[in-house]
Amino acid sequence: MPDTAMPILDVNGLKTVFRTRGGDVHAVNSVDFHLCPGELLGVVGESGSGKSVTMMSLLRLLPSPPAEMRDGTVMFDGQDLLTVSPEELRLVRGSKIGFIFQDPMTSLNPVYTIGFQLTEPLRAHLGMSKTQARARAVELLELVGIPDAQRRLKDYPHQFSGGMRQRVMIAIAIACNPQVLIADEPTTALDVTIQAQIIELMKELRRKLGMAIIWITHDLGVIAGIADRVMVMYAGEVVEEGPVREIFRDPRHPYTQALLKTVPAVRGARAEKLQVIEGQPPIMWEAPAACSFRNRCQFAFDRCGRENPALTPVTAEGHRAACFLLENTSTKEPEAVDG
């Protein structure tokens, strides 16, 4: 676990609010996390849990208005990305931090060639000439597994399939050898076989280029296979985080536990009946003053409605969870060890 290394990205107390006509929606509430060099952090949670909004807040990619980063720091490369000038932020975007989006069908500009869109960051950030950038673009397309790269530079997005477009998006994101790659559900819009190909490609690229990756997904199976660490989000808060093995072996937060039960087991004698988490995540009209999962939690008790649990360490390896139940179990655990 590269936990001891200096984090390359350190997020503290991030708060993002959407100002709407109906009032403020608190999409991200005091999120803390860090990312170490070369690490793959999986971010899971259902739709509306604030995963994407958190990551887009890091690079201030949300349209403002309505989005507003109210609080927090995002330390990267010795500077706080939330307060740097737009020009400094621009030099980080696409060059030191790459971004892959969910839907490859709409994320590319339909009226420009792939070659143009791929050489743009190379020329802007690395100061390459047109010919240099084209040569590098061919390399990148080959790297992400697009056959006949030289010729395909002249093609437009609509001439590519969904999987191929996502490969192009990946090529754009890694064009300038970023230290951090944020992949926002990169396989959600693709069919299953293409998903597997893209995941394989990402694993391979990570091995070759050694960048740190934040992988947002709601597919726990994907996370189990590739992540070093997992962060579970609910209603704009981190409810549990820790090394991937621990999270899957010993989930502590009722939400994580419930989430894991929603995944069908392929192995095992007979598959258990799949469970569902009843209800939907709340829309956060106010900053949470209590546990936001309490209404869907089978273990909820009166304290959950009064206070909001903070992330507390579960083990020494950085496994943390935000639940009051933990206080009981963690006091019990040493007894069990003693006995």
């Binding site: 709409t106 500009n109 754009i172």
Partner: protein, 335 residues
């Protein structure tokens, strides 16, 4: 693209023939006698001779075919002769205006420069002002610039030129005598002073017409930009670290121009149609005024020819719009 162009040009021919026939038949149905404005003292037999000379009593299909022959065969030959100095069209009957007793095309050529200068320039000015306003309004949505722009374009949209034109004259020709209220067609531009005078007399009609164009186009441009600014590819461009200028003027603008270019191209025929009302107000004797006086005077060859020229221009500009569409949007290719 070239095969598409040629194919479209060929399919335009039956369309135009049909249009010319419809125009002819409609005008033929219209009541009125082209000789009605002649003095009543003309004896009936002389009047009949005049009718015969104009071919008024021959059957409709003969009159139509004669006009078609003159339009599609004689007039092009006259044009060739005029350009090359040959004499192919000698002795052939051209389309003659009943009102002016002169070839229709000679009169159109006389009137065309005024219309192009005033209406064409107004259109150009309108487009050049509207596009940046639309872009900035969309980018800074709900800013004071956007609010003012939206308000002004609402006014430009809803105030008819017969009102704004008169208002301009009251303000800028009478209360503040900066500009002439009447366009002097006889002005010859040959030195700096007369050039300045030409500019001054063009200012008011150009302003009135440009206000309308700007109002319509800037709203259209704004809507199109707003539509595109929310697209995912804009976020991608920002995530790549492109400057806002590049995001806006390279990525968003080209996508937004696709529908706007069509509107601009389809507005071009209206330039040649002249601005009937504005030309009347400022006494610009352009094509719009020519058409309206020809209608009053029952000058059927003139009306027929002008209406048909507008039809040709509309068909052509439609074609140009389609070609531009294909150039801007790679998803549309005419192969």
């Amino acid at each position: 693209m070239l095969t598409f162009l040629i194919r479209r040009l060929f399919t335009a021919i039956p369309t135009l023939v049909l249009i010319s026939l419809i125009i002819f038949l409609l005008l033929d149905l219209a009541p009125g006698d082209p000789l009605a404005d002649q003095p009543l003292s003309i004896p009936p037999d002389v009047r009949q001779k005049m009718r015969d000379a104009l071919g008024l009593d021959s059957p409709a299909y003969i009159r139509y075919l004669l006009w078609a022959k003159q339009f599609f065969w004689v007039e092009p030959l006259v044009f060739v002769d005029w350009v090359t100095g040959t004499g192919f069209s000698e002795g052939m009957q051209r389309i003659v205006s009943w009102q002016f007793r002169a070839p229709v095309f000679d009169i159109i050529i006389q009137r065309l420069p005024q219309t192009l200068w005033v209406v064409g320039l107004a259109y150009l000015v309108g487009v050049l002002i509207a596009l940046p306003i639309g872009i900035i309004s969309a980018y800074r949505q709900y800013s004071w610039f956007d609010q003012v722009g939206t308000f002004v374009s609402m006014i430009g949209f809803s105030v008819p030129p017969f009102f704004s034109g008169v208002l301009m004259i009251v303000f800028f020709a009478i209360m503040l005598p900066w500009f002439p209220s009447i366009y002097d067609t006889t002005l010859v531009v040959n030195d700096f002073e007369s050039f300045g005078q030409q500019i001054r007399q063009m200012t008011l009609p150009v302003m009135v017409l440009a206000l309308q164009t700007t109002a319509q186009l800037s709203r259209f441009m704004r809507a199109s930009m707003l539509d595109n600014l929310n697209h995912d590819y804009v976020r991608t461009a920002r995530a790549k670290g492109m400057t806002e200028k590049v995001v806006l003027l390279v990525h968003v603008l080209r996508n937004s121009m696709i529908p706007v270019v069509t509107v601009i191209a389809l507005g071009i025929p209206s330039i040649f149609g002249g601005a009937i009302i504005t030309e009347q107000i400022f006494k610009v004797n352009g094509l719009g005024q020519l058409l309206i006086t020809a209608i009053y005077a029952n000058d059927l060859p003139m009306v027929q020819t002008l209406a048909f020229i507008f039809a040709v221009l509309i068909v052509l500009c439609n074609l140009i719009a389609d070609m531009l569409y294909g150039l801007l949007d790679p998803r549309i290719r005419y192969d």
